[in-house]
Symmetry: C2
Subunit: 196 residues, 2 copies
């Protein structure tokens, strides 16, 4: 029946570092139309194979702090000594054009979005177990043992926060995890928005 033009959803995919957010999100983007991937700005070092403007916008800490002062972030967070943020204006433009926007962000940032944009869809990606997460991080050749230890300590706390989110997907089987995120995105497109 005649509905007003749909506003897109902000789909936040979060979870501990190493849980596989990037892989799940990439596969979802390959399989769903009408969805855009928000590219974060970060001060962390570029990993081998990462590209400016595709994986992240890489900026200095001074440049990042200037953007914070100009209120240009939807959320930002410091994690393992690096800053990460989501550019606000771009996300707003996409959802007003009816596109969904997927944000793949750290747990701290996701909690900021939950407060600022309560209508956003918050998905927590969990590892099948803490040991599985540990193995995955140790398998990453790009991180020092010290950085891994910091990430694991952080992950422990983050896992206790997952009840604050709308959906939990356990990344035990990649194909199932990808399907579940696709189900959530399509279901949200059928959601009836309550009058504000």
């Amino acid at each position: 029946m005649s509905s007003p033009k749909r506003i897109g959803s902000i789909i936040v995919v979060t979870g501990p570092s190493g849980v596989g957010k990037n892989t799940v999100v990439e596969q979802v983007l390959d399989n769903v139309d009408g969805i855009a991937h928000s590219i974060s700005i970060t001060t962390r070092d570029k990993r081998p194979g990462e590209q400016e403007g595709k994986d992240y916008f890489f900026r200095t800490r001074a440049e990042f702090e200037k953007l914070i002062a100009q209120n240009e972030f939807l959320e930002w967070a410091e994690f393992a000594g690096c800053l990460y943020g989501t550019p606000k204006a771009w996300v707003k433009e996409q959802i007003e054009n009816g596109l969904d926007v997927i944000l793949e962000i750290e747990v701290q940032g996701a909690m900021q979005i939950a407060k600022q944009c309560p209508e956003s869809v918050l998905v927590f990606l969990s590892p099948p177990s803490f040991d599985a997460l540990k193995e995955r991080l140790n398998g990453r050749a790009t991180e020092t043992p010290e950085k891994i230890a910091v990430r694991l300590e952080k992950a422990k706390n983050e896992l206790t926060q997952r009840h604050l989110f709308n959906f939990e997907i356990i990344n035990d089987n990649l194909e199932v995890a990808v399907s579940n995120l696709i189900h959530i995105i399509h279901a949200e497109r059928c959601r009836i928005l309550k009058a504000q």
Copy 2:
């Protein structure tokens, strides 16, 4: 991560008579595991091809009224002169065993479920247009013109109630409608239940 045993969801599929609830629900049941179909009790006449205990339990008005008095219904409603109701104990047992239960019911009944079971998932199936609904009902050889007129009048009112539900699926293309209901069911299985 270690989650408590999941309680199933009550998935309510409602919408005006003639919108195609039955066809959509049948196809979903054929394609989703872990879901049970609640069979309603009704006082309406059996249509050709319908089977006792498969499509409905067919009862007399006196028998139905006795069940109301015994508080045996999760919801019941009168529609076009006939009574329809959902047996309570059976639904409760299924969801406690972790199965989802799909109820395919009239709009009045769905609104009772919304009040009694606020955690249930309320899906409104809409026709692409009112004229499309009219054509569909006229194509049903099993109904008298008088009964169709009553159903259409009722449908007009029901369509104004769809904002009371969680999801709207427009039954324009059967395959898409079925997919959307499947997406909603799987998404709900990932939902994190908030502490009561």
